[in-house]
Symmetry: D2
Subunit: 330 residues, 4 copies
């Protein structure tokens, strides 16, 4: 049984708390949050203690920490936990600054700590089935990857101002998908981005609509299309063209009900947003992390994956600003 | 080049006229109709002569006749044409009376005439693909056949009064489908029928909704469900369960356009009615008939197929009237 | 918090035990089974006591019993629990003999006990969405219901011998679906059944393939098609034709993955069997039962629903044996 | 009745010849080809004369010419036909050199000739339905367009060497789609292209896989993904995201047959290539051209559309060569 200390009692922290509590191999030991009331409420719901960082890290029963607090705390908490000998699960991103990320990863390496980064989509059953089909050779060599990723609606302006921008906040998941599905590192990126509908994005100097194109050294291409608004819900699709065929993952719906009437045949719209769409992904991600710690399995998503995705986001901004193709540093 | 005399210049006659005219191996020589104006118009459109029956049958250039006139003329015209040495294509049914059908088929046999009956659905590319998949062994032995057949709306009362009733007018096509897909003769039938919405059916002593269940000697089952109304268009689907899998044919749509919005994802409704749905089936059926005559190929739909379907319709009425399972005579 | 005693620690009992343990408003207090080891194991897994019937019913903390033991124990246990003042959830059927069912329901009525019968499909999100769409008037008056229900493979012969036959064991769920979706009681039934592939069914005097057709007094029709084998998995579909349109529920799949290659586009097959297909239905059914007991809500599936479904099964056998339409007794 | 002279008796010329012959308002008067045998054969099949260019243009009965000869003859033939007072339908491209295109269009303007360019996809019923849905306001303002366009397999190397390269030969159709669906002119383009599988493309200095991203002044984005190979057939899909929803057009299949077996549910693969996929588009395109000439309707695809698509292809090559975003000249 792995005792876990959770840092962050917000929306995503509550998801993880529920999954820890429901896991047959884990228990929630501490909840830490700057909002003491939020920490106590969540701790009480799952029989954990509301603690501060020092107490949680000093608890020798605690084998792992799960970091779901605000982005600017991630790197410090990773380092502190690693130094305290805990395994670490950290929500993306490690930090918005690549130098800070690299410094943090050095500490992780030096301490030998286990670090897993929360690219939850790799655990989504639909997307994992697509990856498994690639690995089973069902479409031969991957030639082109197309990632469609659209939120149901834009976040508030103040969120955008702290987010690092669309490419670092939203596309970062899609960069990880592209790397994962290409099976090779992108070496070059181009980007386009617009402000089409969100005054908040305009005010924050951010964008609401974007396209990024990646190339690997072998010439495989990946295209990511993003929008902060899809009137019909959360739109998360993958398409991979290979030498021998094509794989696609569509948006699951809540039910298979179809209505046929004079207007046509209507099926349900996609699920609303990530909490519904990736509910199972969050659960499986947590189970994998528990397995990593208890069974000493290497994490399927590493700190290096987090760093690579941020490198791509940074390069996307450089490409966008200079209107040119940018080489991805190593 | 096969010269064809067409009897009947109504809706279905015009379809056949167009297909004859467009066929590379046939030409329309005569059009005969009790409505002389209709005959002249249709003849003029395709460079044929408006004639009477005797003239058309006496024309030694005419190799075949196509009978699309009213049902009560079919058997007489088949006999006259067979005796005149012409090949015959006749729209279903041969007659509404089984004794008359059998007498007519005797004449056909005695004269050695080629007779093909217009069960057009066997030529529909979708349905033909399903039949081919059965014959290719894709689902093993056929165990159950389900035929869904619903018209967009009920016909006028006076049509119903001359139609022989739902089972002889509408289900007769589905009986042919069931026989064809079972690959064996049904030996037993049960039936249910209702008047749910059509005052015309009520007035004519007919039904608007029905189910028939067929069994073969080996125990294979077929279910036919009928309605004279489907708010969403013409509904013509097949499903076949076999030992190794299931085959299905859905309603084709005019285009693949999908709209996704907050209400869900909407695709087009089925095509309106048989003239759109079976346009290609009518064309291929005619081509097959031309091949039968010119290349001495046996017709894929025979007079015996017409007789068997009518036997099933008659048995369905007996089953309905007596509320019991009825054995199908041979 | 509702304390529940579970009778039966077999496959279905274990499902319910898990759902009781996971429910926020219920806990598993006792597990009773003729196999003492099975009872102890399951009790231990969820912190319950392995007990006998008398002990469980004498426990004043226990508010409800869940009966998932063998069919021949159902009626006795219902009566004992009702007399002990417990609310009762009983897996279908109450009994295979209609007189015993009616005697049992008298006891339930006399004691005023809450009784819910386990027609789990009503709680399946897909099927419940279809029912809700009917009730919202989306297709107007219901005219025809089509229930497709096929198991992945036949059960063992000894199961069949105790099962009461296909109509009482398998179709009984479909009879409940038909009644529920028609929104009116069937008054008449016809049936066909075959032995096409299962030697066990042959040996047990049972069938492996069947069709039943139901009619209501108003003339609405329902068709149920059953097979004990579907090579592609568990096939559970509904279709309802109404005055204004059609509703359908398809088989959900584990993922939305599609592979397109020279053979075509392949999507996943249906889920394997009822434990996967109806996992969520079992959970929601249990939650509803807990709500019924704690909040004094009337159960959505009653003892009368259980009795009506058995009446239909009995009538189906009479119809089958006598080859005729049979009126359903009240 | 419009008499048409056809220049070019190759694959695409034969398609047009058949559509002219089948049109109720047109007839094929002349066929001209450098291969005299091909011209005579095709002329004979449709009752036309095999002629030379001068004879065809001198024929006062001829109202229009259809140019389906090799690309390097297009501009000269357009000019000659325009000067001879004929209406002109020309297959894309007008020329591979933009200066030559512009000179040719000057002649067209000066002579007042009607010129229509063969961007046949605008007439495809599926794609036209999508465009109509945009114009009907079904998804509000267009924000992003995604054009998927993949050939079943690469053309021969010698074709590639004369083709002007992937962007001018293949993507040119997709550039036209993007302009049409955006409803505004792209002002900026970026491009990526690879040689992943086709030795012929390698040898010819061409590419086999490519992505192009377009932006309008308002910030709308369009993404085109191309491959010269799709193992599963001809892949031609559109997706348009708007403020209020999304429209998509999928690949039509020959039939709706579905096979469900232990491997899953299989539907047919896309149609093989453009002759099958766009058969109806070619027919409707020809009908529109005939209407343009006979009814003095302005063509829905103009010489300017041809020029704009070539400008985009040229800009795509500049963007590719210099690894930067390129502004589109006017």
């Amino acid at each position: 049984m792995l005792a876990i200390a959770l840092f962050g009692a917000g929306r995503i922290g509550r998801i993880h708390a529920g999954n820890i509590a429901a896991s047959p191999r884990a228990r929630l030991a501490h909840v830490v949050d700057v909002d003491a009331g939020a920490a106590s409420d969540l701790a009480a719901r799952h029989g954990a203690a509301a603690s501060d960082v020092a107490t949680a890290l000093a608890d020798r029963d605690v084998g792992a920490v799960l970091i779901a607090s605000s982005t600017d705390t991630h790197a410090d908490l990773i380092e502190a936990a690693a130094r305290a000998g805990k395994a670490v699960f950290c929500e993306k991103p490690i930090d918005l600054d690549i130098a800070r990320v690299e410094a943090c990863l050095s500490v992780v390496t030096d301490t030998g700590a286990t670090l897993m980064v929360g690219f939850n989509r790799r655990f989504d059953p639909h997307m994992a089935a697509l990856k498994a089909a690639i690995e089973a050779g069902r479409i031969g060599r991957v030639e082109m990857v197309i990632v469609t990723s659209r939120d149901p609606g834009p976040p508030p302006r103040d969120y955008l101002e702290r987010s690092g921008g669309l490419f670092r906040d939203m596309t970062i998941h899609d960069f990880d998908m592209a790397r994962w599905l290409l099976g090779a590192e992108p070496v070059r990126i181009q980007a386009s981005a617009s402000r089409l509908f969100d005054p908040g994005a305009e005010a924050a100097g951010d964008h609401d609509t974007a396209v990024a194109t990646l190339e690997t050294a072998a010439g495989q291409l990946a295209v990511i299309t993003n929008s902060r608004r899809a009137a019909y819900g959360y739109d998360q699709r993958l398409e991979v063209l290979g030498a021998a065929g094509m794989l696609r993952v569509a948006n699951p719906t809540a039910t298979t009900l179809e209505t046929t009437d004079p207007a046509g045949t209507l099926v349900e719209r996609p699920l609303d947003f990530f909490l519904e769409r990736y509910r199972e992904a969050y659960r499986l991600e947590l189970e994998h992390f528990v397995d990593c710690v208890l069974d000493r399995v290497p994490p399927r998503v590493t700190g290096e994956d987090g760093r690579r995705a941020l490198l791509l986001a940074d390069a996307a901004y450089l490409a966008l600003d200079e209107g040119r193709a940018v080489e991805i540093p190593d």
